[in-house]
């Protein structure tokens, strides 16, 4: 799933507010999340509002499930 980061909540692990096709999603990152940018692994501190990201393991993140407990995101790619 592709989305745009709207906000980065600084709990630990981080929580993100994402915009996916105009729908707002709240997701957790795993404490050991792997963040990748241009094939290089970077720290989750790189994540910023405005980044386009791809959640590699988010099949359950349909827009109607945003209020339910979801598994944390373990892999995420920054697209731009």
């Amino acid at each position: 799933m592709k989305a745009r980061i709207v906000e980065v909540m600084e709990s630990w692990p981080l929580q993100l507010i994402l915009d996916s096709d105009g729908e707002q999603l709240f997701v957790d990152l795993d404490a050991d999340v792997r963040v990748e940018r241009a094939g290089v692994e970077v720290g989750p501190g790189t994540l910023s509002p405005g980044h386009q990201v791809e959640l590699a393991d988010a099949p359950s993140l349909d827009r109607h499930a945003s209020s339910r407990a979801l598994p944390p995101v373990t892999r995420l790619k920054i697209l731009g």
Partner: protein, 323 residues
């Protein structure tokens, strides 16, 4: 329902109007006795005093050994406020730079560890260990605003992604590595507002933990807080301290700088923060009088606090005086 309507995990009916001491247009000291020449206050500021359990020297920024106050006072402002050297002109904007380890560290990481954290104001700040609604664990920061009341971010007490209120939160004031100098207390009663719980509006991302008694709060004291006007907040030197997860667990780290942008419900700054610092206080320190003016909640450079507005202040007063 208005967005600032207080929402609690446990139903508590308030039947009386709580007495409160607030001042408008009158600067006040921590003991309530001083009406001094604290010039620059705006007539629209609303201030609630702190409760210090000891005296402490003060200044515009908290005094932390090794901390570069000059840089803190200028970070986040455009080059027009500085001499523009060739080197400075060619610098990459700090928010465009990447730093692998720390979260939301804007430019050079100039956080300073507070150790021990058993002095004012650091001991009023708490590491929070959270058992979330979904059973997972997380960490945040909180700070006492009353004997039973620990202020924090709304998403620390009510996680949208976890699907509800936290099950419990362990509060550890002044934690320093493995040291818990004042002990701990576990809270299971929480507060936030409908703007966060129902509307999911980041401008309303604040909440509180209500402890079962005031034993811990009376030992460490509590922060005052203030709803300052836009004019008072613009460029204001502020402090922040909390428990970032990119540092050893249970260690408190402080940073300071100026507010760079003020909106109706949020404060923006380039103070360095990290995951785990959600809920930490952003405060003004003037002549040993400290007033929190925001609840840190968001990263991404600029980092952001939920602003303590008059309606936020009203709710904090209600939560502070919970009976």
């Amino acid at each position: 329902m208005v967005k600032h309507q207080s929402v609690s995990r446990t139903a508590i009916t308030r039947t009386r109007v709580l007495a409160r001491r607030k001042t408008v247009d009158t600067p006040m000291s921590s003991d309530g006795s001083e009406v001094g020449d604290l010039g620059g206050d705006d007539p629209n500021d609303l201030v609630e005093d702190c409760f210090d359990v000891a005296t402490h020297g003060g200044g515009s920024l908290e005094s932390v050994p090794g901390f570069g106050i000059d840089r803190a006072m200028t970070e986040g402002f455009g080059p027009e406020s500085e001499e523009v050297t060739e080197e400075l002109a060619n610098l990459t904007a700090s928010c465009l730079m990447e730093f692998e380890e720390p979260e939301s560290v804007c430019g050079r990481d100039d956080r300073r560890r507070i150790s021990p954290a058993s002095a004012i104001p650091w001991w009023m700040i708490c590491q929070l260990f959270i058992q979330r609604h979904d059973g997972r664990t997380s960490r945040c920061t909180g700070w006492f605003i009353g004997p039973r009341t620990v202020m924090t971010a709304g998403h620390c007490v009510y996680s949208q992604s976890a699907g509800g209120w936290a099950r419990s939160i362990t509060v550890v004031p002044g934690m320093d590595d493995s040291s818990r100098p004042f002990g701990t207390q576990v809270g299971t009663t929480f507060r936030s507002v409908s703007g966060w719980i129902q509307n999911r509006d980041v401008g309303y991302d604040y909440g509180a933990i209500i402890l079962s008694n005031g034993d811990l709060g009376r030992r460490v004291g509590w922060f005052g807080f203030a709803a300052l006007s836009d004019d008072s907040l613009r460029n204001l030197p502020v402090n922040n301290s909390g428990y970032p997860a990119d540092k050893p667990t249970g260690t408190q780290w402080s940073n300071a700088g100026r507010i760079t942008r003020v909106t109706a419900r949020r404060l923006y700054y380039m103070l360095d923060t990290a995951g785990g610092q959600s809920g930490s206080p952003t405060w003004r320190s003037r002549r040993a009088v400290r007033h929190a003016i925001g609840v840190h909640a968001y990263g991404g450079c600029p980092n952001k606090s939920t602003r303590i507005t008059r309606t936020v202040d009203d709710n904090m007063m209600r939560w502070k005086n919970v009976t």
